[in-house]
């Protein structure tokens, strides 16, 4: 026999929004197409710039990038249409699965360029660290959704979060993949911050880092990683070596001037001076061919996309959904900032691509999956998650 409070409780579980119960068509209609369009706009810039960077060949990357955008778009849509509740329930399982895959890389991984990051499944290659980037956001979002507010700044609350972050970090750092490790840790901490951790804890943490980082630098990093950091401070002292990349990148950018040399007119590009200019360093092509205008414009478009995601986050009630949106957005923003800072010589070369514009396989798919999760969060913003919300 249900009393009033039970009914209330039950009511929370049973009251659903029309957007949730409606058919696929209805959901399609409700999807935030503006976000969709922004993502594809940036993707289109990517296709164009890869086309330019490969000397006008359609088949040397531009087409493949386009194909992946379509595929990613499909995944994005699919993920968006899945109820957020399902993601909520799948958060921890997905996380565990990713950790297991990372463990598998340790044992069965394929070595490429000196690091072991891939699993060879025969028909395709899988990079578990990419999956981990989404999985950790899901896990942390779920964690903080469940956590009572007073625990956030306490050791008990913090411990869980650090465990969630620390576990995959071990695997990824040892691959070795410094770039992804930094990204993961930064995203993790961002979510911890957003969850409302006490300022005192932050300051204490900063102190701890100030002590730990130099120790880490000396003993934790490999030589080439140290070299990369060193060359950041004086790249001109070794122009043909480790810092060649940065110097060439800056030259390519700088030579673009205000309005650039024009589409397909980049000389540094045509001279093969900037290595990886279809992947991590593709921004140099934008800078060289479209100058300051192109560069600032690109930054602006990314800015609009990021701002829009933040706007969407304000419209969402659940902590899980909020943190999910914010986590994905943070990861995405970090990609953009780190890549641009690297290309412009502000930070060492860490091998982070420019999402949606750089040519690559796994990154596009995971990024678009992430946006799918954002869309899902927004679409099902009125759905009820376990433990309810105010």
């Amino acid at each position: 026999m249900m009393d009033g409070s039970d009914k209330q409780r039950y009511a929370r579980y049973t009251t659903v929004d029309s957007s949730v119960q409606g058919s696929v068509i209805t959901r399609l209609y409700e999807v935030n197409w503006l976000l969709f369009a922004l993502v594809f706009l940036i993707g289109g810039i990517g296709v164009t710039m890869i086309f330019a960077a490969t000397d006008g060949q359609w088949d040397a990357g531009a087409f493949q990038h386009f194909q992946r955008l379509i595929l990613g778009g499909g995944i994005m849509l699919f993920v968006a249409l899945v109820n957020i509740r399902i993601w909520y329930f799948l958060a921890y399982p997905i996380y565990l699965g990713a950790v297991l895959l990372l463990g598998a890389v340790d044992f069965f991984g394929v070595e490429v360029n000196g690091s072991v990051r891939w699993l060879d499944l025969g028909f395709m290659r899988l990079q578990p660290s990419e999956i981990m980037k989404l999985a950790i956001v899901l896990a942390l979002a779920r964690y903080y959704h469940d956590l009572p507010g007073w625990r956030v700044s306490r050791a008990s609350g913090l411990f869980g979060a650090l465990l969630l972050i620390g576990l995959p970090m071990q695997f990824i750092f040892r691959q070795p993949d410094l770039g992804t490790t930094i990204l993961l840790v930064a995203t993790g901490f961002a979510i911890v911050f957003l969850a409302g951790i006490n300022w005192r804890v932050i300051v204490a943490g900063a102190f701890g880092a100030a002590i730990a980082i130099p120790i880490f630098y000396r003993f934790g990093l490999k030589d080439y990683q140290r070299a990369r950091i060193n060359t950041m401070f004086s790249p001109e002292s070794d122009p043909m070596g480790a810092s060649y990349h940065i110097i060439q990148s800056k030259i390519a950018l700088g030579s673009g001037g205000v309005s650039g040399k024009g589409f397909m007119q980049g000389t540094q590009r045509s001279g093969d001076y900037v290595p990886e200019n279809t992947t991590d360093f593709i921004f140099t092509v934008i800078g060289e061919e479209f100058g300051l205008i192109g560069g600032v414009g690109t930054i602006a478009i990314y800015g609009v996309l990021i701002a829009f995601c933040l706007y969407l986050s304000f419209q969402v009630k659940h902590i899980f959904s909020r943190l999910l949106i914010l986590g994905v957005t943070t990861t995405f923003s970090l990609y953009v900032f780190i890549n641009l800072a690297m290309v412009m010589g502000l930070i060492p070369v860490v091998g982070v691509p420019l999402p949606l514009i750089s040519y690559g396989g796994t990154v596009i798919l995971t990024v678009m999956t992430g946006f799918g999760l954002i869309l899902s969060s927004h679409l099902f913003r009125n759905a009820e998650l376990p433990k309810g919300q105010n």
Partner: protein, 622 residues
């Protein structure tokens, strides 16, 4: 851990607040990025544009064509020849080993070559051509071209290399070229030296006039990508190279070839000099070596062969060979005696075949002796005892001084390096070098051109030329340039010189003279004057003297005497002098004289010699 419904969740407002904070941070980051971009693209734009251009263009050095070396008639002695080579471009080849195997079927490759090619492929960038083999003959080159479609990545190529026609007859003069070594690069900072295709003169004329032969390098503007590979050439923006200057020598190639023929298998050398100008028409050291070997790269086999040949082909005997001049030195002693006035031309000395000095006996080459000799006869019959007497009377110093005037004990600036000064001995010299006092016996030996006296064939030629010229102390040279040498006056009494000349004439033209042949110079109406020399190489023991001195024919080659001869012609109006040595050739009247006579005849003929009326002539023809 799971909170109950009414337990406090994380406050969404907190999240909102924090979100705005992070957004602010993000805007800040974008601001930094934009500022940085502005800095790179606007503030530093000019720097980077220049840098980006500088990366693109390189100037490749073009090696200039080397000047040739010509003889006096314009015949080319050192030339640039098209060289056929075959190269490998690693990036166009799937497997270097297979490519080399395929090529081997067309043109055999040695194991050493293959190993070297593989090593070069590893060391260099993949698009840089690696030399497999150069100095290919035409057939091999044609074969490679024919099979080219089946040999991907194998490129037949035509380049330029230095070649010396004439089989090495001019090798000692010309020298050879090779790649610039560390010393060369240190001495000359021109980046041209570092080009792999550039060859620098190492010895001889090639080295002596290197700057004239070299020319000036050109520059080819090329566009390169980041790996240094040339993607385009810009010939219009390039500088053409200036070819080197051709250098002419005074040497007569035909004459030199003829001289080499005359020598056949013998070892020695010959110098033909113009007595008026000091120009060398021939400067030959036999046997020679093939300079082409040095250009294309000596194999160990070649090297061993050259070094073990006891006729020493690499050794320039006319410039660096020190020999006892033997009787060819007697003119010096005669002039010294005349100057000192220690004997008159008519006074006779009796030669019994030997003379005694203290406990030592000095012998004349003619065991039975010559009988009573005056000065002219002494030279004509080459009597040693007469000259011992001269030495006895004046000592070594006057001989030393006269020898210096005639060019002994010094080197001349012929234009190339590598000459010795020989030894013009006197008391001071012996003290300095051997720490011992001069003895009269040393003077005796010196008076017949043995003992401590050491001369080069070039010096003998110069001596003869100076005697023939009579007025100037001419010096030899063989490279033609704009400078005309002026000669110092020859500080010897002309009357004395005339006497000596007459005595030399009698050697060749009067019966009984040690070089008399029935046809004199070989050219009707043209008389030759000269002197024979038989350079003793070994000392003859008393025992042998008693039992009977062995003749040269009976001796081993190295123990045989050297054969020397000096001469000039025409006697009436001297034009050319010659000095010849045939190592271990036996007596001077033999081979050396034969060769010298033939050379004088030839050089006069080639000079368009018109026979002139002389004391002995009747008709004149060429």
């Amino acid at each position: 851990m799971k909170p109950r419904d009414n337990e406090e969740r994380i406050d969404p407002k907190t999240v909102t607040r924090r979100t705005i904070l992070m957004a602010a941070g993000g805007i800040g980051a974008m601001g930094v990025l934009t500022a940085r971009l502005y800095y790179l693209q606007v503030t530093k734009a000019e720097d980077y544009t220049v840098l980006s251009d500088r990366n693109r263009f390189n100037f490749n050095i073009i090696v200039p064509e080397r000047g040739r070396i010509l003889d006096r008639n314009g015949e080319a002695l050192a030339v640039n020849r098209q060289e056929y080579r075959v190269l490998l471009i690693p990036e166009q080849v799937k497997d270097v080993e297979i490519a080399l195997n395929d090529l081997n079927a067309v043109v055999p490759l040695s194991d050493a070559t293959r190993a070297r090619v593989k090593k070069d492929v590893r060391r260099k960038a993949r698009f840089i051509p690696v030399l497999i083999e150069d100095h290919l003959d035409w057939n091999s080159f044609a074969a490679i071209n024919l099979h080219a479609p089946d040999l991907p990545g194998i490129i037949p190529d035509v380049g330029q290399g230095r070649a010396y026609p004439n089989n090495g007859i001019f090798s000692h003069i010309l020298g050879y070229v090779g790649t610039a070594g560390p010393k060369d690069v240190e001495a000359d900072p021109d980046p041209l030296l570092r080009q792999p295709a550039f060859r620098i003169g190492k010895t001889g004329v090639e080295a002596a006039v290197e700057t004239r032969l070299r020319g000036k390098s050109g520059k080819l503007k090329v566009e390169v990508n980041a790996f240094g590979r040339i993607v385009r050439e810009w010939p219009n923006a390039s500088d053409a190279p200036t070819p080197g200057e051709d250098v002419s020598l005074t040497i007569d190639a035909d004459l030199q070839r003829y001289a080499a023929e005359l020598f056949e298998e013998e070892s020695g050398g010959s110098v033909v000099i113009d007595v008026m100008t000091g120009e060398l028409r021939t400067l030959l050291s036999m046997p020679t070596f093939d300079g082409n070997l040095f250009v294309s790269g000596l194999t160990q086999l070649d090297m061993d062969a050259l070094n073990s040949d006891w006729k020493r082909p690499q050794f320039n005997k006319v410039l660096r060979g020190g020999y006892p001049p033997a009787s060819t030195y007697k003119m010096v002693v005669m002039l010294a005696a005349l100057k000192e006035g220690i004997i008159s031309t008519s006074e006779r000395v009796f030669c019994t075949g030997k003379t005694q000095l203290g406990s030592r006996t000095f012998h004349c080459w003619r065991r039975q002796g010559h009988g009573a000799m005056n000065m002219r006869d002494a030279l004509k019959y080459s009597c040693d005892v007469y000259f011992y007497e001269l030495a006895n009377r004046m000592g070594i110093q006057p001989i030393h001084d006269m020898a210096a005037k005639l060019g002994f004990g010094q080197t001349f600036d012929v234009g190339i390096k590598g000459q010795i000064a020989g030894i013009n001995p006197n008391g001071a010299w012996k003290e300095r070098r051997l720490g011992d006092g001069w003895r009269t016996g040393d003077s005796y030996n010196a008076s017949i051109g043995q003992g401590f006296v050491v001369t080069t064939p070039l010096q003998l030629a110069v001596m003869t030329a100076r005697i023939a010229n009579g007025r100037r102390a001419i010096t030899p040279h063989f490279i033609i340039d704009d400078e005309v040498p002026g000669f110092k006056p020859l500080d010897i009494d002309p009357n004395h010189l005339q006497f000596v000349r007459d005595a030399m004439w009698s050697v060749c033209q009067e019966p009984g003279g040690t070089a008399f042949r029935s046809n004199g110079s070989g050219i009707p109406g043209v008389d030759m004057a000269g002197k024979t020399g038989t350079g003793q190489v070994r000392s003859i023991s008393k025992a042998e003297r008693l039992s009977g001195v062995m003749s040269n024919a009976q001796l081993e080659w190295e123990l045989r005497d050297h054969s020397l001869f000096v001469a000039y012609a025409p006697y009436a109006a001297p034009r050319f002098a010659v000095a010849t040595i045939v190592e271990h050739g036996g007596s001077g009247s033999g081979l050396a004289a034969t060769i010298s006579r033939a050379l004088i005849k030839r050089v006069l003929e080639r000079d368009g010699m018109q026979a002139r009326a002389s004391d002995n002539s009747t008709t004149s023809q060429l």
